[in-house]
Subunit: 322 residues, 2 copies
Amino acid sequence: MEDLTQTPLPTFDDMLAAHDRIAPYIHRTPVLTSSYMNALTGSELFFKCENFQKAGAFKVRGATNAVFGLSEDAAAKGVATHSSGNHALSLSYAAGRRGIPCHVVMPRTAPEAKKAAVRGYGGIITECEPSTSSREAIFAGVQAKTGADFVHPYNDPRVIAGQATCSRELLEQVADLDAVIAPIGGGGMVSGCCLTLSTLAPRIEIYAAEPEQADDAYRSFKARRIIADDAPVTVADGLKVPLKENTWHFVSNHVTDILTASEQEIIDAMKLTWQRMKIVMEPSCAVPLATILKTPGNFRGKRVGVVITGGNVDLDNLPWIP
Amino acid sequence: MEDLTQTPLPTFDDMLAAHDRIAPYIHRTPVLTSSYMNALTGSELFFKCENFQKAGAFKVRGATNAVFGLSEDAAAKGVATHSSGNHALSLSYAAGRRGIPCHVVMPRTAPEAKKAAVRGYGGIITECEPSTSSREAIFAGVQAKTGADFVHPYNDPRVIAGQATCSRELLEQVADLDAVIAPIGGGGMVSGCCLTLSTLAPRIEIYAAEPEQADDAYRSFKARRIIADDAPVTVADGLKVPLKENTWHFVSNHVTDILTASEQEIIDAMKLTWQRMKIVMEPSCAVPLATILKTPGNFRGKRVGVVITGGNVDLDNLPWIP
């Protein structure tokens, strides 16, 4: 509960303020439909394409809200994080747009391509050993030296308020949705959906989709308490992190159900989406479609928003190619 | 000249009629932009995404115009073609929408995936040997037996009028274009651009982009007469066919220049587009960007429409993966 006191939960008004704040720096991403996918699932699916978002992922919404919400004095010291994924890219992008430094602590063993991508967006990398203890020590050192503001990838209320702008756009773009489904890792996107939809359209069902091999959110949901796994292994590499108290609040209060899919089901849904919808998206984004195909009864006859969360894929290592 | 008499050139009014005729069956495809690509090229690029088109390619415009322009009596006998690529898919799709048969003559050696795709859209395949003589004999037999209307992939005025609707949409979607660039194989798309732009916006430059290894249109343009190659080899497999008299008319009268790119330049531009724009597109679609990157001086400071012609790629055989 200490953390809740330190970081109060974001409100609907925080989401509205975030949307005004970030609008100049993000895309209003398109919603795509596919008659093939509709026929296949017996649903009407509306794909909100955050893979076309700035920096290639929805995470730029929350990162930009955090960066542009800082006071001048705080901003001058920069921002910092220890993600090696889309949050690092997004925070680097947002900091670059504001002209302030972004410090990213990454394991020295991270792929060179990921380091190059962060640097490409202007991020300043400090390397740590690939262990939690090293990461925490190095990160504390960076913060102490720079005074940079720590922007957590998902447990930060500014970040959740930013991610919540995605489903506000979706509601403006698609009328009469019955359900929304998004992948769940740490729960930032799903919490954002909960924040917005519970106020604007509380009758819309909110589903979260998770890999079977990293199903800590599913088990947390069933157990009614946060369960965190250590280093799960899944092709959906954006979904390995556990829920934290802020995201758990939204997930436990507003999510209809959490559905899971196997690795092969995720890969098949990913390839099918590339083939039929002609979009490049990450394995994580395929988990919702995989669960819809697995349990179509939840969605049959319904109008369903499906959040495509990002498109930063290593094109030299596609999971269906041996 | 006999052929010109048989198949008069399509007019601007034919394009307008085509657009009305096909609108219920095609997508008005989106135009995407990329600040990364703009910075890289020094131009403002507007990508007209026909990879998101029905059946995955612009060819559905011309095919649908041909199918829905038939009289009831002619339509009852169906349509026929001998493409094994996007035209076959598109004609099958259009015939299916009208509820008439589509006969496709394909070499028995064509990949099973291509045959399956044609059948998936309802096409009826008749196999021939992989030779021109066999194809022509078998095709003549199919036509004699069925009375089906032959829809040529690009030299048919109904097809050119249909393809011409693409640049009409582009003009409605993007103001003040300085140039349009599209890949050239048989010249159907480029002829469509010429047909529309020469009437609506004659000051817009029209560029065609072609693989160096299949540069028959380039050499035709320089020689001022049609030169056809026998079986060129290029990764841009949609661009191997030669110009014919109807498309030559438009290309020779309205195209500003034809630019070429090497195989490696095409593959690099394709991968870069997938990486940065998150779209799945065919190698052929990368030829325009490859030529812009190769000779940026033609385009610097200009607003350029780039036609992304299709997205039907074999995801198990990507040209940058060994």
